[in-house]
């Protein structure tokens, strides 16, 4: 009997109660947000898209010199994410709440979640490129099509915990064919390629491959960070992304190793091989490497 009652409760009473609770809490939250958003609507419309994009990336960076403020802001974000991981529509809301607490300028996320700016936020047929998904699949990540948007990836993502990077959203947009939006989204570069998402994906999507494919597409469209190009140029110059320096040569000597490691550093003809390969693949042109000056153009 006990079991039966428990089962009954489980199927009816308890669950119904929880549902109610959830509904109530949603009811409470919703007006707040609508208010919030409508308050700021005008100001956000005025900003140009470029500024908006910056604003989205800025929060963490901006805080950097002010040591004390960075800590609380991140903690707040962490807590919210931990509580809300499984809930689909929470994502933009999170940002709204964080922004509220820290009294930050409006982020793009809060505009997106509003139906008040229908025109701005509607996806229209001209935004959709039906070949985009196929391009990603052809580049080696055919599993991308299996995604059912559970959000385990973003919930597992240590980068999403501290930056605006939302891998679930990027996968969704990719499947929808929003080529332009995905290929201009800088947050893709916040991925540390740790595979936390991919390890847990219940659909077996090769998520890190998708990230790298999107990054390859962005790079070939010229969207590369200067610091990354520099690493590339070091390889073209020396064969090493982190070349040797005087201090390490002295250390090597001290412990009885050759001053130069037996790599491209010691074998100039091997360095020529590396250079020939990277010329052949067009890597030098891609990063704008000038062979005469040895600099990035």
């Amino acid at each position: 009997m006990k079991n039966l009652r428990r089962l009954k409760n489980f199927l009816t009473g308890q669950e119904a109660e929880e549902d109610k609770k959830e509904e109530i809490s949603e009811d409470i939250q919703t007006p707040e947000i609508v208010e919030e958003t409508s308050d700021r609507t005008e100001e956000t419309i005025e900003t140009s898209p470029a500024v908006e994009e910056n604003a989205e990336l800025e929060p963490v960076k901006e805080e950097e010199p002010e040591t004390e403020e960075l800590e609380p802001e991140i903690t707040v974000e962490e807590e919210i994410i931990e509580e809300d991981v499984p809930e689909e529509k929470e994502e933009p809301k999170k940002e709204v709440e964080v922004v509220e607490e820290a009294e930050k300028p409006k982020t793009k996320g809060s505009v997106n979640m509003s139906l008040l700016n229908r025109e701005e936020n509607l996806v229209s047929p001209e935004d959709v490129d039906n070949t985009f998904k196929q391009d990603i699949m052809d580049a080696g990540a055919d599993t991308v099509a299996l995604c059912y948007q559970c959000g385990t990836c973003t919930g597992s993502c240590p980068s999403g915990k501290r930056t605006p990077y939302r891998i679930r959203s990027i996968i969704r947009k990719s499947l929808m064919g929003l080529r332009n939006e995905v290929l201009t989204d800088d947050t893709i570069w916040e991925c540390v390629t740790c595979y936390a998402c991919q390890e847990r994906c219940p659909r077996g999507v090769a998520i890190v491959d998708v990230v790298k494919i999107i990054r390859n597409m962005q790079s070939h469209a010229g969207r590369m960070a200067q610091a990354h190009k520099m690493t590339g140029s070091f390889v073209l110059k020396t064969g090493h992304g982190v070349p040797i320096n005087d201090a390490t040569m002295a250390l090597r000597k001290r412990v009885g190793l050759n001053e130069l490691p037996p790599t491209t550093h010691e074998y100039p003809e091997a360095l020529e091989e590396v250079r020939s390969i990277l010329k052949k693949t067009g890597f030098d042109t891609l990063i704008g490497y000038n062979w005469e000056t040895g600099e990035i153009e």
Binding site: T67, R215, N216, H228, I244, T248, T263, T281
Partner: protein
């Protein structure tokens, strides 16, 4: 036991040569010769090359693999980044004829051909599977009994599990077991499996985000009472060692947890001098750890403090 083609990479040999020194001496002792891969280059860096242009990434990695193929030996690397690049390239070219043909067309330019007849292996996995815990424990001459170790696995040593198959990437034990052969205690801490923050090109592109990861890890390690960090990747090593000074400068938080690559840590337990391990050149002073694990030093301290 089989000998290996020893892949150096960049950060180990060009920044922390004590890791290389310790490995060479240790493996000789275990009866394994580490042979130089003459003319090898950067693996290449997965964060930049993998992100910018997959074909370039595969081709440079494949060239490195062909050097070991010519030597007829499996590759050993002790960097997670190099392991990720070389292992994944080997794995991909093995299973994808089209990619292999494409890469070989490029390698033909320099008279090389990728065949796919060697394995790419990680230093720690060779220690565990080929040498074995018993033999490592036997080689310990200076037990590190008093140390609490926060092991940092990093990302590309075990992941993606589906391809790598070394240990369970959610709850591995391989490194903890190796560390404990020295008598030290490997402690649990929150988010142990989290990235150090350096990977994927994030360190060079967005240092503040990278350091935020690192600070998280350091905070959790400190809370669990860690005396030292032991890692298996020179890039994670650098991120913890240099990162602690950067965090102090930028955010004011001071952790001062000494950082050891597993090769240095085992070297210490096998009686190699700290100078040979080049731990004296680390940004974060390792003396507190050395003092805690060394009886001599403890006696010296006793002289100064009168046993207090």
């Amino acid at each position: 036991m089989a000998d290996f083609a020893y892949f150096l990479g960049c950060i180990m040999n060009n920044r922390y040569p004590g890791i290389e020194k310790s490995s060479r001496v240790m493996f000789e002792k275990f009866g394994i010769t580490l042979n130089d891969m003459e003319g090898a280059s950067c693996c290449p860096a997965p964060g930049v090359f993998g992100s910018f242009d997959k074909t370039s990434w595969l081709s440079i990695a494949a060239r490195n693999i062909t050097i070991a193929e010519d030597m007829g030996m499996d590759i050993m690397t002790e960097c997670n980044g190099c392991f990720g690049t070389l292992f994944e390239t080997n794995h991909e070219l093995h299973g994808d004829e089209e990619a292999k043909t494409k890469v070989n067309e490029i390698l033909a330019e320099v008279g090389r051909e990728y065949k796919g007849d060697i394995k790419v292996r990680h230093f720690a996995e060779i220690l565990y599977n080929d040498i074995g815990l018993d033999k490592i424990a036997e080689a310990v001459t200076k037990p590190l009994d008093n140390l609490n170790v926060a092991v940092h696995y990093g990302c590309h040593f075990l992941r993606p599990t589906a391809d790598v198959q070394i240990d369970n990437a959610e709850k591995p034990t391989i490194l903890d077991e190796i560390v404990e052969t020295t008598g030290a205690k490997s402690i649990d801490y929150r988010d142990k499996m989290q990235c150090c923050g350096a990977g994927g090109g994030v360190r060079s592109r967005d240092i503040d985000v990278a350091l935020d990861f690192t600070r998280d890890k350091l905070t959790n390690m400190t809370a669990a009472g860690a005396d030292v960090i032991v890692n298996v990747c020179p890039f994670c090593h650098l991120q913890f060692d240099v990162g602690q000074t950067e965090i102090k400068k930028k955010l004011g938080d001071e952790f001062q947890i000494p950082v050891f690559h597993l090769a240095q840590f085992l070297g210490l337990a096998m009686g190699y001098s700290p100078e040979d391990l080049t731990v004296d050149a680390h940004q974060i002073c390792v003396d507190p750890a050395l003092e805690k694990c060394s009886l001599e030093e403890l006696e010296k301290l006793d002289e100064i403090t009168g046993g207090e």
